[in-house]
C-alpha cells in the first residue's frame, strides 16, 4: 500500500459486499498501472488468468499488464523501448551479461535491499549480480534443470533399465537400436542450440565437477583443452549413430514431435519441455539425470538460473513495482509459478510442493547431486567470439561427425584466448 487512502479503500472493500462497487471504482481511479516486459509469450495465459489475479487479491490497487514480445526479438525490442523511453515498468531479465549491460547503462534499478531478496541464496542470485557480487539488480524467478526424458512404455516394452552410468547409457541405446525400429536418442542438430544446451551443458557438469570446474574455467586455471572437457565431446561424438536418420536437418520442433508421437525412446531434455510433453504425449514418461562416468560416485546437474524480474529505472511507479517484486519473493508466488509452469523451478529458499510427477523427479536431483549453471554464461561469452556461439557451432559439428572432439576443444579455447586475459 503506497498511500493510506488506498489502504483504507481496500480494507473497506474487504469488509462489506455493498461497498465493493465503490471500492473498485476508487481502485480504478487511484490504481497504479504496471506493465511487464517479457519474452515468455507462451506464458501469457498463466500470467493473465492465474498469477495477476492472485496478486490482485492481496493488492487490488495495482493494475498489472503482461506484455510479452517473441523470444527471438525480445533483447533487441527491449533495447529499443528502453532507449525510446517506452519500456514497461517491470522487465523480465535474461541471465548474466544481457541484463548486466542494462544495469551498467542505468536501465535497471539496484534491488539489493528489496524486501524479500533475503529469500534467495547467492547461487540463485548469481546470474543477476555485478561481477563483484555486491549489487543485485533482478529478482530471481526460476531455473531450468537438464536431464533425459524417456518413454516409460517403450522402456517396459524393450525391458530396459534406467541407465545410471555412461556405459549403461550406451548399452541401453545399443539395445534400442538393435532390437527395435524406434529412434534411440531423439535430438536434432539443425537449430544448433540443442547440441550445446541439451548435449554439452547437460552431460558436461559430471566431467568438469560442476561449479568447481565452471569457476576454474573463469579464473583460467582450467582450459577447454583439458581432458575433462574433451571427454564431454568424446561422449557426444558417440551419440551420432543413435540419433534418427537425417538428424542433421532435424529441428527442435521435429524432435519434440518425434518423441511425443512415440517414435523415439530417450530425449535429451530441459525441464521446460515438461508442459509441452504433458499436453502432447499420450504415454507415460519419466526422467533420469545425466549418467555419471563409470566409477564416479558424485553426480552434478545443470540447474540453470534462467529468468528473473527487474525494475525499469525510468519507471514512474517504482514503489508499486517493488511491492509486486516483494510479492514475487513470497512462498505463494513460488508455489503458484512452479506448479503452473512445471519445469520452471522457483529459485527461492521456500519449501514448496510440486505436483507434477516428472517435475518432481527433476527437482529431486537437487538433493542427490551438486548443482551448477551453464559454464559459458558468466563472463566467458562477453567478448568476440562469444563462447556460447562457439559451443553451439562445435558441439553441432561433433554430433554431425565433422569435427573431432580435440579440434572442438582447441577451437573454443582459441576463441577464448583471443580476448579473455586469464586464458591468454
Amino acid at each position: 500500500m503506497s498511500t493510506p487512502v488506498k489502504g483504507i479503500a481496500t480494507r473497506l472493500g474487504s469488509l462489506s459486499l455493498g461497498l465493493m462497487l465503490a471500492t473498485s471504482s476508487v481502485g480504478a481511479w487511484s490504481a497504479e498501472k504496471l506493465v511487464i516486459e517479457s519474452w515468455r509469450n507462451d506464458d501469457s495465459k498463466i500470467w493473465n488468468d492465474i498469477i495477476i489475479p492472485a496478486f490482485n487479491q492481496q493488492h487490488p490497487d495495482i493494475e498489472l499488464v503482461f506484455s510479452p514480445t517473441p523470444p527471438s526479438d525480445y533483447n533487441s525490442a527491449l533495447q529499443a523501448k528502453l532507449q525510446g523511453g517506452t519500456a514497461g515498468d517491470l522487465i523480465t531479465c535474461r541471465p548474466f551479461d544481457v541484463s548486466l549491460s542494462l544495469y551498467t547503462k542505468g536501465n535497471l534499478q539496484d534491488l539489493s535491499n528489496l524486501a524479500g531478496m533475503e529469500n534467495f541464496s547467492d547461487f540463485a542470485r548469481s546470474a543477476w549480480v555485478t561481477d563483484d557480487g555486491k549489487e543485485t539488480f533482478c529478482l530471481p524467478m526460476a531455473s531450468v534443470i537438464h536431464g533425459f526424458i524417456y518413454n516409460k512404455e517403450l522402456f517396459a516394452e524393450l525391458n530396459l533399465e534406467v541407465p545410471k552410468t555412461e556405459s549403461e547409457f550406451f548399452k541401453v541405446l545399443e539395445t534400442i537400436k538393435s532390437e527395435s525400429r524406434y529412434v534411440p536418442l531423439v535430438m536434432g542438430t539443425s537449430d544448433q542450440w540443442e547440441s550445446a544446451t541439451m548435449g554439452f551443458q547437460n552431460i558436461g557438469p559430471n566431467y568438469w565437477k560442476g561449479e568447481a570446474g565452471r569457476r576454474a574455467l573463469i579464473d583460467g586455471s582450467e582450459k577447454l583443452t583439458d581432458p575433462q572437457y574433451v571427454k564431454v565431446w568424446e561422449q557426444m561424438a558417440k551419440w551420432g549413430p543413435y540419433m534418427g536418420r537425417g538428424y542433421e536437418a532435424q529441428k527442435y520442433a521435429d524432435s519434440q514431435n518425434l518423441f511425443t508421437l512415440g517414435r523415439g525412446v530417450i530425449y535429451p531434455a530441459g525441464s521446460w519441455d515438461i508442459p509441452t510433453f504433458n499436453d502432447q504425449a499420450d504415454f507415460e514418461f519419466a526422467a533420469f539425470p545425466p549418467p555419471v562416468p563409470d566409477g564416479q560416485d558424485s553426480c552434478y546437474i545443470s540447474d540453470h538460473t534462467d529468468i528473473a524480474m527487474g525494475i525499469n529505472a525510468a519507471s514512474p511507479n517504482k514503489e508499486a513495482a517493488r511491492t509486486f517484486l516483494t510479492w514475487m519473493a513470497s512462498k505463494d508466488f513460488a508455489e503458484l509459478y512452479s506448479n503452473q509452469l512445471p519445469g520452471f523451478f522457483s529459485l527461492s529458499n521456500h519449501q514448496i510442493e510440486i505436483k507434477d510427477p516428472v517435475a518432481q523427479q527433476f527437482l529431486g536431483w537437487r538433493q542427490d547431486c551438486e548443482q551448477t549453471i551453464r559454464n559459458s554464461y558468466q563472463i566467458l561469452s562477453r567478448g568476440t567470439p562469444s563462447m556460447e556461439n562457439e559451443l553451439w557451432n562445435v558441439s553441432t559439428q561433433v554430433l554431425n561427425g565433422t569435427l573431432s572432439p580435440e579440434d572442438a576443444a582447441k577451437q573454443v579455447e582459441a576463441g577464448l584466448q583471443q580476448w579473455y586475459a586469464p586464458h591468454q
Binding site: S190, Q192, G246, Y247, A249, E388, W392, N393, N400, W419
Partner: protein, 310 residues
Amino acid sequence: MSQPSSIQRRFPWHILFFLAPGLLIYVTFSVYPLLDTLWLGLFQEDATGQRFFAGISNYQTLLLDAAWSEPFWNALWNNTKFFIIHMLVQNPIGLFLAALLSSPRLRLSNTYRTLIFMPTMLSVVIIGFVWQLLLSPIWGISEGFLYSIGLGQYFDAWLGKESSSLITLALISVWQFVGIPMMLIYAAMLSIPDDLIDASVVDGSNAWQTFWNIKLPLILPTIGMVSILTFVANFNAFELVYAVKGALAGPNFSSDIMGTLFYRTFFGFQLQSGSITMGAAVATLMFLIILVGVMLYLFVVQRRMKRFQL
C-alpha cells in the same frame, strides 16, 4: 519565333512542386537513414552506452582482426556463391521459360505464367517452412519421391550438411524467384516486332538461329538488368537463411551470408550482445559491395551494350 528578350525566364516552380513529394519521401526514408548509417559506423560505444567518435577503427577490426574478419570473408564468399548459383540457374531457367512462353504454339501460356510466378508472391517464411517439410528426412516426401524414380540412394539431409546447405538454400531461393527474370524477359520478347521474326524466317533461319541472332541481342539489355537486380537482391538476402537455419546460419556457418552476419552483429545473438555501431559498419560494407557491383555494371557492361531502335 521572336521572343522579347526583355522578359526574364521565370524560375520553373512547378517542376519543384511536382518533384517535392517524391524527393521528400526519398530523402527522409532512404538518403537520410543511409547517411546516418555511414556516419554511425564511425562511432563506438562504451559499457555505459556512451557513444564516442572512433574513426575507422570499426572497419579495422572488421577487416583485420581475425575474430571478425574470418566470419566476414566467409559470409562474403558464401554470398558470392549464393549469387553465382542464382546467375547460373535462376536466370538461364528464367530465359528458357520466357522463350517457351512466348512461343505462339504453346497453349495455356497464361496459366503457366501465373503458376510459375506464384511462389514469388509468397512470404519467404512460408517458402522456408514448406521446403523444410518437403526436404525433411523425417516427414518429407522427397525421399519417397526419389526412391520412386530410382534415385533413392542419393537422398540426404541436404539442409543439415555443411557441404550442401548453402546450395540447397540457394536453389530454394531460385525456385521462389525464377518468376521475376521470366516475366521481365518475357515482356522484352513480346516487344520484339513480328516483322523482324518474319523477315528472318523468310531469309531462311531456323528457330535456333532466330533466337540466337535476332531475339537474344534484342533482349540483352533486359538480361543485363535482370543480372543487376539479382546481384542487389542476393547481397541483401537474409530472410530465407534466417527462416530456415536461424541467425547462426549453420552448420559451421556454411550458410552464413552478409545479411545474417549483419543481423548477429547489430542485434546480437543469444549471449553475444549486439553492437549498433559495429552493425552499422557491416551495413556500410554491404552497401559498398553492392555499390561497386552496380558501378562496374553501369560503367563496364552497360556502356558496351548495343541497343537497337525497334
